[in-house]
Amino acid sequence: MSEVKFVSPETLEQAVDEYSKSSKEGKTKILAGGTDLLVQIRSGASQPDTIIDIKNIKELKEISNYNGSYTIGAAVAGAVLDEEKDFGNNWPGVLEALRLIGSEQIQGRASLGGNLCNASPAGDSVPALIASGATVNVKGPEGERNMPIESFHAGPGKTNLKNGEIVVNFQFPKKQKHSGDAYIRMIPRTEMDIAVVGCAVNVTIENDKCVDARVALGAVAPTALLVEDASKALIGSNFEKDAVEKAALACEAACNPIDDKRGTVSYRKKVSKVLFKRALEKAIERAKRG
């Protein structure tokens, strides 16, 4: 630790500038809530020589709703988004996924941007974001771009961000009528654990028929997965048993997990099916309500 620099820019331009400049010279880290970064610094896994705190940048802390389409700043903390009641009415699955992260203390800090950029295969908000169809706005030295969440990650701990790029905010589609999303995860305790498996489902129903569906899984592969075969099995169905079973099998087949201290391959596969069914049920119930 020779000369570690801590900066807290007030504009996005300054942040991008600093980030692209300093990351050419050394190890630079963006600091949102710090609930991943500080743990990594503490363990020695990360030893940045520049830390850029992005929490004083307006765009990254903003929550806005334009014509029913939400934009959520990348650094908005879980506890803050929770207070935005209408967001929770629109995207209960995304909110519940974000709110599952850590304790109330962690919620005071943890952000969607941090969860996404940390790129843990088990990040809870990621499957829910994928299922919602949200995209992410990114700004870098070469300008802005927009990416679907499902193509954001390159592997465990790896993103497709280019040098100097910062995640600015999340863009949610306008919520469809009679649609609903849900996220469920399996953890051994009731709180304070990392997901062994997570599953998010977002469905739209018209006349009892599934007209749209997005299914995503977490912690079962190097990155969170959009399970298109599951969507296909559901779309056009009345959620009859066969269709649901087929979608569940698609979830199981999509899993490419590892054995680790948190769960075995066979456990994760079995559980992915169960969670899919439970999340689906919850999403359908929500869709029917609104």
């Binding site: 399996m186 051994p188 305790r189 009731t190 709180e191 201290k261 075995t264 456990y267």
Partner: protein, 744 residues
């Protein structure tokens, strides 16, 4: 004295140290500072098993900001083949556990330590220490350690004449088991295993040590015994005990894990070599990797009974993993497991197995939960085969006053049967269960303990009271001592202050552990207070010029015992204190003794679970713990002991485990993946305090802290079986394990 008349005993008073603890004022070891203080850090082994060929500390010593470096070369040399016994520990092992000598025996084993201006510099200096290793194969699990070609940790340990990792055995025998099994109509025999679990005290080990040039040493540390700290530090550093003053800081939990030293001798050496006070604080990861969990185990239990429900014979074999050095709690497993029952023929056997893990330390009723887990699960199966209610079955075989226990003693008055009866008549016993819910029962026993204890009771000049005892207070023992003293003196509780003395201010007192503290300290405090009362009567007799025998002490004052004694206005404690100087000087008394008469404690638990069979998750939905507590001096803190112990047992049963990876390293050294129960995992824990006073104690106290962790493991396993019809023989019953077994 009539129970009902008690003013303070049995009351939930506010604890003397409470205000400090709710305001953040209380000083734990890591909160202490000294002028000129520097920081110590430990270099730990990267290998699970290796011979140390050389240690070169030169570069570390030369680093700017470094004051001193310590290795085992700075410690007293204890040859491996000569035992040096201190309590239940052997200083040969303790010294090598504190700083490795010939070999490193587990990943995280301390090798050297550095004291420097800041923690960062000390850490950096540790990295500059060069150690040459000869790396050996390692054995982590019991099976690996006892197989024929296992890597041997200690060459000189022999079993059956050959070098072995079996470091010791222990056996209890009663009657003739072979004959006993012949009399049985049904015999059930099963094998069990449990994972190593950590005490999980929240406060990490910490100390601050200052050694002056004449070797006068002051140690502030959080431990379960300042005298243990003094003795072990003295042994390892060679500084005489009289030169060491060990001051007990407030302690943030121990559960047995702070009955040995890790840092104190190291900090003492670093301070002595640097001339500066040295502070050392372990990280959570260091605690998990290198401080003692309790044993992993494998066991086999066989029980036979007649068709009418009488147990005829029981046999148990328990292998307990000790970690790097001998000392697994086989006595607790083999000694406690059958203690609640009157069994004519029994044989239990324990094996102490070393392996390349951190040395185990005591954990609440050491060994007893492991033994009870196997026995109480088999009993459940026997009761089922006999179509008997598990509680009725236990009642039929319950040990009572006069029963000769398998582990030796003949029981005096005791309350095991009462705990069973309390459960049978509790609404929980009959409460309806839903689908996938189940109910399990189990009992448990712990020896409890007495041992050395000292107290001093002093009357202040303004007529109030200061009590000093020698056992660190972890769970509220000061509150109970205050209750007893106020009761005996007949004064308001707020006039009594209770403190824990350091090694220079109070006589030798044994560890806080084994559920001994209140038993022992209440004895010596009672004796001291009675002596004080005697002195007070003596002073009154001088003032009134009458016989001391004609004076009685009541409600905080001396009174003439009757009209014959004369008519005098009573003299209060305050008045007598005012007149202390002319009547003979300061008023106070102390007592120190090896306390005896501790009697065992029994408990019976009822547990309800609900199982999510699709995910393999078992949740505790209701829990009731009945225990013979002797006499609850401060009921709320007794309940707290029961609740805390039960919840540790729940963690042990469901999710806690030491997970080792292929490199022989602990894979979950933090609270994220070492899963102790969190608040939302649990229901309220109901308690039933059965009070069968210990006849050998002035207030009837039995220990209460250990027993509650004994029954939960099996109560939960039995409840899961009751819910889903699958029996589990391996702990923890974590979701992947449970689901795998259900789907088979």
């Amino acid at each position: 004295m009539n129970e009902m008349d008690n003013k303070w005993i049995g009351k939930n008073t506010i604890r003397p140290d409470g205000a400090d603890k709710v305001t953040g004022r209380a000083e734990y070891a890591a909160d202490t500072i000294m002028p000129g203080m520097i920081w110590g850090k430990v270099l730990r082994s990267p290998h699970p098993h290796a011979t140390i060929k050389s240690i070169n500390t030169k570069k570390a010593e030369e680093l700017d900001g470094v004051f001193s470096v310590a290795t085992s070369a700075d410690c007293i040399d204890f040859p491996v083949d000569t035992p040096v016994i201190l309590g239940i520990q052997d200083i040969r092992w303790m010294a090598r556990n504190v700083l490795a000598k010939e070999k490193v025996l587990f990943h995280g084993h301390p090798i050297a330590a550095v004291a420097a201006r800041t923690e960062e510099i000390a850490e950096k200096a540790c990295e500059l220490i060069e150690v040459e290793y000869d790396v050996h194969p390692w054995a982590i699990d019991i099976d690996d350690a006892i197989k024929p070609d296992a890597p041997i940790l200690h060459d000189f340990i022999k079993f059956d004449g050959r070098p072995s990792n079996i470091a010791g055995t222990l056996e209890h025998k009663k009657g003739n088991v072979e004959e006993g099994f012949k009399d049985a109509d049904i015999i059930i025999e099963k094998e069990f295993e449990t994972a190593a679990v950590h005490q999980g005290y929240l406060e990490t080990h910490a100390c601050l040590v200052s050694v002056s040039p004449d070797d006068k040493t002051t140690i502030w540390s959080s431990s379960q015994g300042q005298f243990m700290v003094r003795a072990m530090t003295s042994f390892i550093t060679g500084i005489p005990q009289s030169s060491i003053r060990a001051i007990p800081a407030e302690i943030g939990g121990g559960f047995g894990g702070k009955t040995i030293v890790y840092l104190e001798p190291v900090a003492t050496i670093l301070s002595k070599k640097s001339g500066r006070p040295v502070k050392m604080v372990m990280t959570r990861e260091e605690v998990m990797r290198a401080s003692g969990p309790t044993s992993a185990s494998k066991s086999r239990v066989k029980i036979g009974a007649t068709n009418n429900g009488k147990i005829t014979a029981a046999q148990g074999t328990f292998y307990l993993q000790a970690g790097a050095f001998p000392g697994a709690p086989i006595r607790g497993a083999a000694g406690c497991c059958l203690a609640p029952y009157d069994i004519p023929n029994a044989h239990t056997f324990g094996y102490d197995v070393v392996s390349n893990r951190s040395k185990v330390a005591a954990y609440r009723a050491p060994g007893a939960p492991i033994g009870a887990y196997a026995v109480e699960c088999v009993l459940d199966e026997v009761a089922e085969a006999l179509k008997m209610c598990p509680l009725e079955f236990r009642l039929k075989n319950a040990a009572k006053e006069g029963t000769k226990a398998v582990h030796g003693p003949t029981y005096p008055v005791m309350g095991y049967v009462e705990t069973l009866e309390a459960c049978l008549s509790h609404p929980h016993y009959k409460a309806p269960l839903k689908k996938l819910q189940g109910r399990g029962y189990a009992s448990g026993f712990w020896f409890n303990a007495g041992g050395e204890s000292s107290a001093q009771v002093n009357i202040t000049e303004d007529g109030n009271v200061v009590v000093t005892t020698g056992h660190p207070d972890i769970g509220g023992s000061r509150a109970s001592i205050a209750n007893i003293t106020a009761e005996l003196l007949g004064i308001d509780i707020n006039r009594v202050s209770v403190i824990i003395g350091d090694t220079a201010t109070i006589g030798f007192s044994n560890l806080t552990g084994g559920s001994r503290v209140l038993f022992a300290s209440a004895l010596v405090v009672t004796e001291s207070t009675n002596q004080v009362i005697d002195i007070l009567k003596d002073r009154a007799s001088k003032i009134w010029n009458i016989d001391k025998e004609a004076i009685e002490w009541e409600n905080g004052e001396a009174r003439p015992a009757g009209d014959n004694a004369g008519k005098f206005k009573p003299l209060s404690l305050v008045e007598l204190a005012e007149k202390a100087t002319p009547t003979g000087g300061p008023i106070g008394a102390g007592h120190q003794v090896n306390t005896v008469g501790a009697e065992g404690g029994f408990a019976t638990h009822i547990c309800d679970v609900e199982v999510d069979v699709e995910l393999g998750i078992a949740r505790i939905i209701r829990y009731t713990a009945a225990q013979d507590v002797g006499k609850a001096i401060h009921p709320a803190y007794v309940e707290g002991q029961l609740q805390g112990g039960v919840v540790q047992g729940i963690g042990w049963a469901l999710n806690e485990e030491y997970i080792y990876n292929k490199e022989g390293k602990l894979d979950n050294p933090g609270f994220l993946d070492y899963r102790i129960p969190v608040c939302s995992d649990l229901p309220m824990i109901d308690t039933i305090l059965v009070e069968v006073p210990n006849p050998k104690h002035p207030q009837g106290v039995r220990g209460v802290g250990e027993v509650p962790i004994v029954p939960p493991l099996s109560a939960i396993a039995n409840a899961i079986y009751n819910a889903i019809g699958t029996r589990f023989y391996s702990l923890p019953m974590s979701p992947p394990k449970v689901l795998e077994k259900i789907s088979d």
